[in-house]
């Protein structure tokens, strides 16, 4: 897994709650032997017309937001099935971060989706509703606005025309450590390679 480094990229918003894994990647795209190549299928029901052409009104098809790296949505993002393909699709499109708000007891992200993101190095940022409202307002006024995501400082900065807007966020320190150091579960376990080898030696 790659280390999560501070970067600046285009921010794109999909202003919906409960975006489920079927919307992220419909199941006809699951029949693959690859872990790659899912980026083109991301949001395909919204992104493409029935004849396969681009739907120009969808945010990712607008020239200013194409190739965005920061995705902003509403609460309960990633609900539905446990398919890891949903994470692969978001990530392989080019997104490094997904931002969503917690609303009372409704989580920002569905549990399994969030867990799968952590396994794959996709950063999920939970913010307050007020913060996400403010981000959407900026996106409406300035589509294609750039943002800088600094995980170590736990801050997202939107570079708006009127000046920078900073949004702080909280994150589980264990997860932060994994992402900052690029430690996927396998990498973490491989830190215990000596213990594994010792176990194997004892059980020859």
């Amino acid at each position: 897994m790659e280390k999560f480094k501070t970067f600046t990229g285009t921010v794109a918003g999909v202003d919906r709650a409960n975006i489920d894994t079927d919307a992220i990647i419909p199941k006809e795209y699951l029949k693959s032997i690859k872990r790659t190549g899912f980026g083109a299928a991301l949001f395909s029901d919204w992104r493409y017309n029935d004849d396969g052409s681009d739907n120009p009104s969808f945010v990712l098809n607008q020239p200013v937001t194409a190739g965005a790296q920061v995705l902003v949505a509403r609460n309960n993002f990633g609900c539905g099935s446990s398919r890891e393909h949903a994470v692969w699709a978001v990530q392989q499109y080019g997104f490094k971060v997904v931002i969503a708000p917690r609303e009372g007891t409704i989580p920002a992200f569905a549990d399994i989706f969030r867990g799968n993101c952590a396994k794959n190095g996709l950063l999920t940022i939970e913010m307050t509703s007020a913060q996400v409202d403010a981000i959407f307002q900026t996106l409406e006024k300035e589509p294609g606005v750039k943002g800088t995501v600094n995980l170590e400082a736990q801050q997202v900065v939107l570079h708006a025309a009127a000046g920078d807007q900073a949004y702080a966020f909280d994150i589980d320190p264990v997860l932060k450590n994994k992402l900052v150091n690029g430690l996927d579960d396998i990498a973490l376990t491989l830190q215990y390679a000596d213990d594994i080898a010792a176990y194997e030696a004892r059980h020859k």
Binding site: M1, K31, S32, I33, K34, R35, T36, S82, E84, N116, K119, D184, D185, I186, T189, L190, Y192, A193, D195, I196, Y199, E200, H203
Partner: protein, 467 residues
Amino acid sequence: MSKTLFDKIWDAHVVKELGNGEVLLYIDRHLVHEVTSPQAFEGLRLAGRKVRCPERTFATMDHNVPTDENRMNITDPIAKAQIDALTENAAETGVTLFPLGDDRQGVIHIIGPEQGIVLPGMTVVCGDSHTATHGAFGSIAFGIGTSEVEHVLATQTLRQKKPKNYKVEFTGKLQPGVTAKDMVLKLIGMIGTAGGTGCAFEFCGEAIRNLSMEGRLTICNMAIEGGARAGLVAPDQVTFDYIASGDRKYAPKGEALTKAIAEWKKLYTDEGAKFDYELMIDVSKLAPQVTWGTSPGMVTDVTGTVPALDAVPEYSPADVRAALDYMGLESGMKMTDIKIDTVFIGSCTNGRIEDLREAAAVIKGKKVAKGVRVLVVPGSEAVRYAAEKERLDRIFVQAGAEWRYAGCSMCLAMNPDKLKDKERCASTSNRNFEGRQGKGGRTHLVSPAMAAAAAIHGHFVDIRELL
């Protein structure tokens, strides 16, 4: 301190405590098939990692392979791509592969025991929920997801939290014609499909001791249908005799076997060990079981009727209504009045030689009922050879059944063997979910003897009346 069998095996495989109740658990055997492994191998490749223990990893092709004469010519491009990918991945990483066309190919959970790959006291995983099957040897065996498959390939370990211990004691003696399949269906009917969530079952008691290895494999196979990721049986002389018999290439032999058996004899639950849950089931009056709904917990005696909407404790009336609508049944119908048009005998649940013998004994000298299609699919090529040596294939073919090559076949409709819309099947497999055997298909789970009896009569019959 007194320990359960599960805890003994678990503790012996802890490489390291990771905190928060999580441990790094060593995995002795990793079984691999073509559907859940391609992305795991690709993940390894992308990260520049190697398979840590190819000698502990065994692969075959089972889920999507055709089972007819023309099976080597795979026309579904996705199935072909998955099979080709496994061939390449095994060659590249040095994993042992039993490919399509090999004498040892078959359903992964049939060939593991058959080849002596799985032995008592081991930890066994596979990217398939029916991995629980292998617990029948007194091993910890459970299904995992694709990320975990990759984790095991890379590290030969898994990060796991220990499940709770759930003791299921089967007392009494089974009546003739009543089988391991009926025992496990009864259990699932009693506790529901989530009853064992977060637990490992230990199956014990007189009725388990009296079962053959094959019957025990059937019971452990369906642990997952009761919600438990694992189920196991303490090894005994039946287990040791099974391992010592036949041509089990990977099992110890001679002196090594004698030494191993001495160790395996320590694998039992200590007197006074604590279980988190316990259940006792008397099987002496157990009737053959037939499912009527779209969940394995929707099951009743063959002598019974399709239940009223509010008469099924584990399911809401709405769930029962939806199941009956899908199944095309009405409350109050006698189970023996349900007519079937398809019979499937096979799968990791009931595709072993004893299962085929059981079915053949019922079918011998009789004809399949008019309009009924019967598929008999050996669980492995070795089972097929054994059955043909005993001429079981002739019994089936002369009765009007189709005799096939090994594979998962109609258990899961990922290959050409499927039910059509509204076709009704007496099936020896493990899941009766909507669409499991084909879109719109209606599945009734039963034992091999019950499936064979239904094949002859065209509807369910109480096998005990035919004996």
